[in-house]
């Protein structure tokens, strides 16, 4: 029954002449924070904020608030803003709005968790000294030339800078924000297609109402009102969806498989722009020998894992990015096949396996299940009997990896922060990257990637990054396993439910029938 009860938050999508309303169930962290520097990327953030650039349907970075993003040397960028953009309170969006927002996000004492994304901009280290109070409060590399021109200087050439700008972390903030950052976090005034209705987020209140912002300068949102309900548990969100309490919910794993079996029309799928890989601890001498790593990679039956265990909700990987990502989808990895005989032979050539093998992963049931399958296959195909599994919360796992304390292969997911192979390659393999978990370093790779960063055209960047990827995967510091598929389920009266490259539903495009 379609009774209009959107306001009290119970239930169903309600159509209306103004576009109607619907509700969506999201993980709690989506609505834990709403300030750009704190929120991270999520569909809610996307609805509230519009940064300078956005990814179009073909995976390219195109202007959003920005008219153009240009650079001659890939270090000094000039950004021209479009006219007519306003915040939800009517304040115009100017270059200042961006500069101030970025400064606030990057300023250490503000303790914005996503402030580190600004580290490529010149002056970032001044705002975040390793010790003591920062002497400056603004990024020296960011300058608002006039109301609609922003000049940015990076600390190194970066051809994909326009891509990085797609993140909502780079969104602007109005002047009122800086008076009370904490209060703003709960009831922000954004510049996106939807504005946050009072009272915003409140402890103990699990829902947030978004109202279409009619002064939006971009493509207007189709629904007039969106109720966002937060769930502590994905399974609950899914069950709530089934019972009709929300109209859209994210889903994965067996629940998604089940939904796809029963009701394929109302399921939106997307191959995530990332990879699940088995990384090798290159600091462990047992894994110094490439043949050992090859043996491990060859011993894993990727197809069996994706088909049986993951019920088809993943595609076997032979590279670090799927084809949904610019440059992704190439068979870069020669050893990402299933060949147990060769695996066994390689291992014995390398001297066989000695001692106990520990497989690591993050404390996440889905990952653990996969790792268990990997474990079984290693046991069967390589004859390693003494294997244990170690699952740690990420806040333990990552420090352990970067301290080189893990003593065995680790199963991890790496998602591109923007849909370009470059991003994946950069995050996974560059020396010094925080997400280079394997400790891989290679001169060839670095120079190839540096060249890619300095390249001027997209095909050129892609070609160079692909070469870099192949180089790295030849060394096999990690074995890509699969590209997971994420999905969303929605009610029959919604159309336009799409997932973007990171698996987020784009709220503005959902319309109610």
């Amino acid at each position: 029954a379609l009774t209009g009860c959107g306001a009290d938050g119970v239930g169903r999508a309600a159509p209306g002449p103004d576009g109607g309303s619907f509700s969506i169930g999201v993980p709690a962290w989506y609505v834990a924070h709403l300030t750009p520097g704190r929120a991270g990327k999520s569909s809610v953030a996307d609805a509230i904020w519009t940064p300078l650039t956005r990814i179009d349907d073909r995976g390219r970075a195109v202007g959003a608030v920005a008219q153009s993003v240009r650079s001659s040397d890939l270090r000094h960028w000039t950004i021209e803003l479009r006219h007519g953009w306003t915040f939800h309170n009517g304040e115009p969006v100017t270059a200042r709005s961006f500069a101030d927002a970025w400064n606030a996000a990057a300023y250490g004492p503000n303790a914005m968790p996503y402030g580190y994304l600004f580290s490529d901009i010149q002056g970032y280290t001044d705002l975040n000294p390793l010790k003591g109070k920062p002497k400056r409060t603004t990024l020296s590399g960011v300058r608002a030339v006039d109301a609609h021109t922003l000049k940015v200087t990076l600390s190194r050439p970066l051809s994909v800078f326009p891509y990085t700008l797609t993140s909502t972390v780079f969104a602007p903030m109005p002047k009122t924000a800086f008076k009370d950052l904490a209060g703003f976090d709960r009831l922000p005034i954004g510049n996106g297609p939807y504005e946050v209705a009072a009272p915003g987020i409140k402890p103990g209140v699990q829902q947030l109402t978004l109202r279409r912002y009619d002064g939006y300068a971009g493509p207007e949102g189709s629904a007039a009102r969106i109720t966002v309900k937060s769930y502590q548990d994905d399974a609950t969100a899914f069950t709530s969806f089934q019972s009709g309490a929300v109209d859209v919910a994210l889903a994965s794993g067996s629940r998604l498989a089940q939904a796809r079996r029963t009701d394929a029309d109302d399921v939106a799928l997307s191959t995530a722009g990332g990879v699940v890989y088995l990384g090798f601890p290159l600091w462990d001498k047992r894994f110094r020998d490439r043949r050992v790593r090859q043996a491990f990679s060859l011993a894993i039956n990727r197809h069996a894992v994706t088909r049986s265990l993951l019920q088809g909700l993943a595609s076997p990987a032979a590279g670090i990015a799927p084809d949904t990502v610019t440059g992704g989808g190439q068979r870069a990895c020669a050893d990402c096949r299933y060949d147990p005989t060769r695996a066994r032979r390689l291992l014995s050539e390398a001297g066989g396996w000695h001692g106990r093998l520990t497989l690591w992963t993050q404390a996440d049931p889905a990952m653990q299940t996969v790792l268990e399958a990997v474990l079984n296959q290693l046991r069967t195909n390589l004859g390693i009997t003494s294997i244990t599994l170690e699952a740690q919360p990420t806040d333990q796992l990552y420090p352990n990896l970067s301290a080189h304390k893990a003593d065995g292969p680790f199963l991890l997911y790496m998602g591109a922060s923007y849909p370009a192979l470059y991003a994946q390659a950069q995050q996974l393999f560059t020396t010094g990257s925080g997400t280079n978990t394997t400790g891989y370093r290679s001169g060839t790779f670095t120079s190839l990637l540096d060249r890619a960063a300095a390249a001027r055209t997209t095909p050129r960047i892609t070609a160079l990054t692909r070469r870099a990827e192949r180089t790295a995967l030849d060394d096999l510091p990690l074995a890509p396993l699969y590209h997971p598929v994420t999905g969303a389920v929605h009610g029959p009266d919604l159309t336009g439910v799409h997932l973007d490259f990171l698996g987020d539903v784009q709220l503005a495009r959902i319309s109610v029938r």
């Binding site: 250490g108 004492p109 580290s119 975040n128 699990q206 309900k229 709530s240 970067s402």
Partner: protein, 298 residues
Amino acid sequence: MIPVVLGTTFIIYAAVYALPGDPVQSLAGPDRAVSPAAAAALRSHYHLDSSLLVQYGHYLSGLLHGDFGIDFGDVPVSSLIAAGWPVTVRLALTTWVIQAVAGTGLGVLAAVRAGRFPDLAVLGGSTLILAVPYFVTAYVAQIVFGDRLGWFPVSGVDAGWPRSYLLPALCLALLGVPEVARLTRAAVLENLGAEFVDTAVAKGAGRIRVLVRHVLRPSLIPIVSMLGLTLGTLLSGTILIEGIFNLPGLGYQTFQGVQQHNGPVVVGISTLLVLTFLFINLVVDVLYVVIDPRIRLD
């Protein structure tokens, strides 16, 4: 009191401090590593860079000014508690009442019919309940009663008390009902053969009266202890159920606090719980004397 609170807060603070893992990492999201500079900034903001004693001292001095600290989103812990406490209390009390009523009722029934069908049924039921982890039961109940049958809301507290709380409370109560029931059964059996029960029968008192006033009443000590305990543990131990049923109670806050290593949040909530326990146990101790006047407590 004061030493208990001080000791507790310190122990818990220390435990949170000792939690392995890096709070800053947990702040930054699942698959990112934080740059050292940003990490340092976060640490100093939340005083994570100082030693345990300094942190604790800082916390205490805040406490003296009525400041319970902030969570990692800069939300005051006091407002977190203010928001979560009512939910948790409602859930706990609902559960507790179900447990108390169903538990003692079934226990008495089982004792009176010891060895016969009702007894065996209670035993069988308890066995089955114990054999399935309650989070599994909760998911099943959610799907069956919430979704398929639609008797209860699947999750959240939108439908208010009691509708929103019934299903989670029932699931949670399942944990305690067998215990209370079996405890009651044993206690009642113990007193069923007592001579004063015969006296009551000789007076012509009815079955129910004999059972309730003469058998159950003197058997209440262990039952009351148990119920006191469960009330307390219900307040503190609802993390899983709150998560599954998406109730915005303290459980979720604690869980987050633990995951993020946020001393003030965890300590704030735990201290509240310890105080509650102190109070409940004090009441229970007093009840002992009311129930059985022969007991003296010094």
